[in-house]
Symmetry: C2
Subunit: 170 residues, 2 copies
């Protein structure tokens, strides 16, 4: 079975993941966080960009993590469960095959999600939309390689306030 | 009954309304367009920003329109059914009360939606999410006045491909 890359993300109604680059998702609902933890527990490895890793270092430290950064030449094993990797300098799909991971949970941020979309690597997207509006901030995805299409698999209301979980497949 | 201001919008999975400012919503589904037309037919007046008006001039020309622009001192009646208005120079809510409109359909773009959110004038938002990703472009809302909260009223799958219509209220 080939590895399955899936993104898990929470956005506002206007598609923002944060007000700014230091803003962690303290605004998302308990129900979304429960779903996120379930997906993380079910994955072999968490993949994040370095900025997201720094913000979420504590909750991520117990998990297998691959962190994207341009500050290492190729890859650098920092701890038993922490691998830094420069996505521009390596064949990332080959790395994952070599490491034997089957379920890769991509948690952002925008550029990291964008990397996977650009390379058509994302098989699934789990997108929670919280019933709030930021009006400005960081958009969910950041890449520039044309329009990507997905298929909606399911829609689920997560709570009374109206967080909605959308599950898409390639 | 006080006037009801509602926004109707279609976005990508990443919260974009267009690739750039000249990009009209030719990428949205037939089912979303049908819904949009239903909401327009049911409204007393369409409210748009000048850029959106220019792009959609033909389909909008038969309808009652108020167009936001900074190029008129206060208001300017251009045709029987077309009123230009400078939102920074007038009391917009008073204007609507004077004109007697009850159902005001706000169609964007981002700054025009933002004006209504900033002033807490939007009672409802009808948001269609199409199962595609732009990766870059114009975000749904453009304003900077803190977080706004809504309540989800309903979720509806519009078609097989997976366009989803979310209805929010203040």
């Amino acid at each position: 079975m080939p590895p399955n890359f899936y993104a898990v993300a929470v956005v506002t109604m206007d598609g923002k993941i944060a007000k700014n680059s230091a803003h962690f998702s303290d605004w998302s609902s308990k129900e979304d966080k429960d779903f996120l933890h379930k997906k993380m527990n079910d994955s072999d490895v968490i993949l994040v960009g370095n900025n997201t890793y720094k913000i979420a270092k504590k909750p991520l430290s117990k998990r297998n993590c691959i962190v994207f950064t341009s500050s290492v030449p190729k890859t650098k094993k920092a701890k038993e469960n922490l691998l830094y990797c420069n996505p521009k300098k390596i064949d990332f799909k080959k790395l994952i095959l070599d490491l034997g991971y089957k379920k890769i949970c991509v948690l952002g941020g925008a550029k990291t999600y964008g990397y996977f979309l650009e390379k058509n690597l994302l098989n699934e997207i789990f997108l929670t939309i919280e019933p709030i509006v930021f009006g400005s901030g960081i958009s969910l995805f950041d890449f520039d390689a044309g329009i990507k299409k997905f298929k909606l698999v399911s829609v689920k209301k997560l709570n009374k306030k109206g967080a909605v979980l959308l599950h898409y497949k390639k």
